[in-house]
Amino acid sequence: MRVLKLAKKDEKKLYSVLVNFGEVWSPLPKGKRFSYEKIEDPKDLVLHEECIRTILPVKKFLMPSDFNILSFTPQQFLTSNEEIPFKVIVSVPPCEIHAVNILTKFYTTDYVDNYYMKRREKLIIIGKSGIPDEYCFCHKTNTSIVEEGYDLFFFDLGNYYLVWVGSEIGDDIVRKGSNIFDENLPKDVSQKYVEFRKQKNNSFINDVELEGVTDLMELMYDADFWDEFGDKCLSCGQCTMVCPTCTCFNIIDDLELNKELGHRRRYWDSCQFKDYSIVAGGHNFRESQAGRLKLWYTHKLKAFIGHFGSPSCVGCGRCIVTCPVDINVPTVVKKLKG
């Protein structure tokens, strides 16, 4: 694999290289948090030392929260031919790249979802390893290191970034930016790299232990604490919206005012909503909120393993900072362990 360095004094020139490959998007402050936004001013492209947890994950680019999948007239249905622009997303943490790999696996299993794949092919991911905060637990979900799914990946090693090239497009980018990307790595690079890893690993505070949760989900399926969580849960669905691996959507039809043209909209849905499992005639297969919470945690911590070989929780900590009533992977795991 190609590895280069980018001197920090050249960091400000990064934008002018990336913009040749598509729209440049990166975390920008939004209130007290961050959001992936389109960068118009090169000065706004900042590579933060810490891991940046944006409000919404990268999935917002791959499966937009609300978009038209079809248009239709009374005579026929027309597949959307929407042009998807290339987007370069900068500062994507390892856990999120794992999440994108999980989404890709999901969207290509059984049937390939072209709406997702079109967007995935147009997404260029510039990853960056950062220092975790008190909510991160990717070291417990084996998602703190990433091996594939990025085009370039940055490590902050003091006065330069170590840059791993992960794809052909990544290679194109470093060629285009040959004035700032340098193949001559300093002699002490491995020592610096080990130091960085050590510093990162020592920074994890969240000590939630996921060992055995798959079996515990089974053993504790009828435990009382689910009802306590169910009583507390507001069914707001925010956990599923911010989760980087949640994929559920609903589909509805909208008519334009002239009633000659309509659009079939696909938008994020949540298994935490009461009407999620209602069928014709009104029978609800998941009437209780506790049942719906169990579905989500079964899916994240147990079921996904059966299907794809790994849990679909990547330890990003979004459910921790988002849930207004403190129901999240660590609090549930704590209860599972009794």
Binding site: P74, D110, N114, A280, H283
Partner: protein
């Protein structure tokens, strides 16, 4: 990164179907016959009994419906649709010649290959006779490929019995051991339709060879427990009892999530599940 695109662009895009005829089966269930519009006739739309399709109506939406016709009778797609919500209300307003969108087929369907040569017990409750009609016609059209054909059908009352004239006529057939019942009120049909739950009909079913029999069940959620209990009395293995289940679905192809049960999607791994699945997956019935 290179990906393979889906070879069927119509995965989410319905093709247009024309209604060629319709008739009422019960006060709230109507039978529709559809054929593809001319430009779609070349498409290979083969399906298996037990599969479903997504029906779309301009401006109203889309929902899954079991196929009622048999692949042995090619060209015409048949659906028995109950008037039960916004979409079906609109479908009931359609006239002959009107258009509907259709995509699919989806789901696993009944494992016909494993059923060949076997004795088949079919148990239907209410609207469950709609998907099971596909299987029934398939077996009748390939009668020599199967052993005994036993069919038990229970409905709420005689008005709610689907395909009633067909079934009553079939009572005299030597191709099928057929028994009909209604919960209450069999006036006018005392000779052909019993009174009582569908489970009461099992007393007529004797000499079952458990090693050579497969049972197929479809009906309202409440029915499965009681019917399976009766079938188990014949010592059938749990994976030889097949249940055709219903869930909310939006995509039909394992993506939207609504039909998930544990790690399995009703639209991919179902809607036909075995009783073995039921025991090992919570929430299935």
């Amino acid at each position: 990164m290179k990906y393979e695109y889906n070879k069927k662009p119509e995965l989410y895009t319905p093709i247009m179907m024309r209604i060629i005829s319709k008739r009422d089966l019960t006060p709230d269930v109507r039978f529709f016959q559809l054929v593809p519009k001319e430009e779609y006739k070349h498409l290979d739309m083969d399906y298996k009994p037990g599969q479903f399709m997504m029906l779309s109506l301009f401006g109203t939406g889309e929902a899954p419906f079991s196929i009622s016709s048999s692949p042995t009778r090619k060209g015409i797609f048949e659906f028995a649709i109950r008037k039960t919500g916004k979409l079906t209300d609109k479908i009931f307003e359609l006239k002959d010649g009107d258009m509907l969108g259709l995509r699919g087929p989806f789901g696993n369907g009944f494992p016909i290959e494993k059923m060949l040569g076997k004795d088949i017990i079919i148990v239907a409750g209410g609207l469950g006779a709609a998907p099971l009609r596909s299987l029934l016609l398939y077996i009748l059209d390939n009668r020599e490929l199967f052993g005994r054909l036993i069919y038990l059908y229970g409905a709420k009352n005689v008005d709610d019995m689907l395909y009633k004239p067909d079934f009553v006529e079939m009572l005299d057939s030597d191709q099928i051991e057929l028994f009909l019942t209604v919960d209450k009120g069999n006036e006018g049909y005392e000779d052909s339709i019993e009174e009582g739950k569908v489970t009461h009909l099992f007393k007529y079913i004797t000499d079952i060879d458990p090693a050579n029999t497969i049972a197929c069940v479809c009906g309202p959620p409440i029915m499965y427990k009681f019917v399976v209990k009766e079938i188990l009395k014949y010592n059938l293995e749990k994976d030889k009892i097949l249940l055709n289940l219903e869930r909310r679905m939006k995509c039909g192809c394992g993506k939207c999530g609504h039909c998930i049960i544990d790690y399995r999607y009703t639209c991919i791994d179902g809607p036909v599940f075995t009783y073995w699945d039921v025991i090992h997956m919570r929430e299935l019935i």
